[in-house]
């Protein structure tokens, strides 16, 4: 299971539309979740609508919260979407077998069996979550809460029986011309990671769409790297952002 979790507080304003980018992600088998962080100002009607649409296009969920609810929301939304992905896959299987797509339509005892399988897979399937953090100027006061939420998410993922990894990106990159920058490569452990976003230089643009495309690319290369690692003699693809 692959997910992108976008944490933002506003509208994208450069490059490809984030809705298009999210649809790309979905096509690659990556679900896109979004949490909009609201306090200190407002995402506005436009922002709220965009956030909802990105999630819809990306086959994920969206929530608008304040910083106090961030940790709880991030772990909950990740879990829910993971279960949803499993559910969709199981539902697809059911369609072939029963000619009936919906789990809800099954009688209670059959449903019970199916849900048991969903729960089992949800707990044991490998899960990767790429966190994509909006680090534009207005997000600055919220980054501490974001970091806390990332640590909290790691804690929840570590409790799963299946392997779980996270990677962290922020956008825009402080380097001119880059849409997105990696802060942390795939890891299943955050102990020892004290500060994820040291000395960010904020600039005005919010290239949400290009940043999502960047992370999709990272996923793609990562898969490629893994495959070639299995086939060749353990050569890692040294992907540097």
């Amino acid at each position: 299971m692959k997910q992108i979790l976008l944490i933002t507080d506003g509208c994208s304003n450069v490059g490809v539309s984030p809705v298009v980018a999210a649809a790309h992600a979905k096509a690659e088998g990556i679900a896109v979740n979004i949490v909009g962080v609201l306090d200190y100002g407002d995402v506005g009607e436009l922002g709220a609508a965009e956030i909802e649409e990105i999630a819809r296009a990306g086959g994920g969920l969206s929530r608008l919260v304040n910083t106090r609810q961030l940790s709880q929301t991030v772990q909950m939304i990740t879990r829910k979407t993971a279960m949803q992905s499993i559910q969709l896959a199981v539902q697809k299987e059911l369609k072939n077998v029963l000619g009936n797509g919906s789990i809800e339509a099954l009688p209670p005892d059959k449903r019970s069996e199916v849900v048991r399988v969903i729960d089992e897979l949800g707990e044991t399937t490998k899960l990767q979550v790429a966190l994509l953090i909006d680090a534009s100027a207005s997000m600055k006061p919220k980054l501490r809460a974001v970091e806390e939420a990332i640590h909290d998410l790691m804690l929840s993922l570590q409790a799963r029986q299946g392997g779980s990894e996270i990677a962290v990106f922020h956008f825009p990159s402080s380097k001119y011309g880059d849409d997105c920058m990696m802060d942390l490569d795939w890891t299943d452990n955050l102990s020892g990671v004290s500060s994820l976003f040291p000395k960010l230089q904020m600039n005005g643009t919010t290239p949400t769409g290009p940043a999502i495309m960047h992370v999709i690319d990272f996923y793609r290369r990562g898969d490629y790297g893994r495959k070639s690692r299995d086939e060749t003699d353990g050569m890692m693809s040294d992907y540097v952002v």
Partner: protein, 319 residues
């Protein structure tokens, strides 16, 4: 948090199960959990609690836990009073599972459970007095112990999920967080969570429930100060802060050593915790008994002497 869950059953409404055709009459809303709403309903002049789910799969997942527990209950047929979940009189906890058509025409799944005529823990203590706290605490630990002995962890233990009926009888409600040992806790509430206080993992083990039990004690008796602790920096949250609260509270002081063990994971499971809690209560009662006033002791001594003298006289007279 759940979007688009607006089912609203009104008083007097009749609901018929789609599969088993059982009819229920809605009386009123009892409460709302993470996975759905709970109503008081009536069937054949008996009262039940009906949980209507926002999401059929989420609710089924909860039902599966209840069914697994019920199945574990049957073999052997030992009827310990605190086996779970369920009644002292052997009444099953889970009674019916079905779907219904809501007033909006959509289908919702529901399950019927035993209705516990109780109030929440905090209401119980404010209505009946803090002197019930040790007993209610013990009953709750026994409930958890029964779960643990079956390989389950309750997970989302909090004040709202504990109902207390007359004479401190305790029932756990909302099994949405119940998790098989070794898995990731399915549902939790931040301030009761071990991970939130930087005190351990979010994996389901019996110690997880005992940690939540410790926070629950503080939530019952020091709610305001506990709330204050959550406003600090996340990296500063610690067990020490919680323990400090317990030491400064009159009711919790006697159990502060116990709380220390619960919060640090020193008890293996709730059975061990309950045993230590019981001993603590017992010892306190013994101490109180030795507090008998001096004049009473004197009186007792005098009557003992008088008895001795009269026995002596009797024996002497008889000889």
């Amino acid at each position: 948090m759940t979007t688009s869950f607006k089912i609203n059953l009104r008083r007097g409404m009749a609901v018929t199960g789609k599969w088993k055709r059982n009819r229920y009459q809605v009386e009123r809303l009892l409460g709302e959990g993470a996975n759905g709403k709970v109503y008081l309903v009536q069937r054949d002049r008996s009262w039940y609690a009906m949980k209507v789910g926002a999401d059929a799969v989420d609710l089924q997942s909860e039902i599966n836990v209840l069914q697994a527990l019920a199945k574990q209950e049957k073999p052997g047929g030992r009827s310990r009073q605190d086996t779970l979940p369920g009644g002292a009189n052997g009444e099953p906890f889970l009674i019916d599972v079905d779907d219904l058509y809501g007033p909006d025409g959509r289908e919702y799944s529901f399950y019927i459970m035993r209705y516990v005529r109780g109030v929440t823990l905090s209401e119980y203590l404010s209505q009946n007095g803090k002197e019930w706290f040790p007993l209610v605490g013990l009953n709750l630990l026994n409930k958890l112990a029964a779960l643990h002995s079956k390989g389950w962890v309750f997970g989302d233990l909090k004040v709202e999920n504990v109902l207390v009926a007359d004479y401190g009888y305790v029932e756990l409600v909302d099994y949405g967080g119940a998790t098989a040992a070794g898995r990731g806790i399915r549902q939790f509430t931040e301030i009761y969570d071990r991970g939130y206080w930087n005190a351990g993992s979010r994996s389901a083990d019996a110690k997880y429930d005992l940690f939540s039990f410790g926070v629950l004690c503080l939530q019952l008796l020091e709610p305001k100060r506990l709330q204050q602790l959550t406003t600090g920096l996340p990296q500063n949250r610690s067990i020490e802060e919680l323990l400090q609260l317990s030491k400064e509270n009159e009711t919790l002081k006697p159990v502060s050593e116990w709380l220390h063990r619960a919060l640090t994971g020193d008890f293996w499971d709730a059975a061990e915790g309950a045993e230590a809690w019981r001993l603590l209560m017992h010892r306190r009662q013994l101490r109180r008994r030795s507090d008998t006033p001096g004049w009473l002791k004197g009186l007792a001594a005098v009557s003992a002497v008088l008895l001795g003298v009269s026995v002596y006289w009797l024996l002497r007279g008889g000889l």
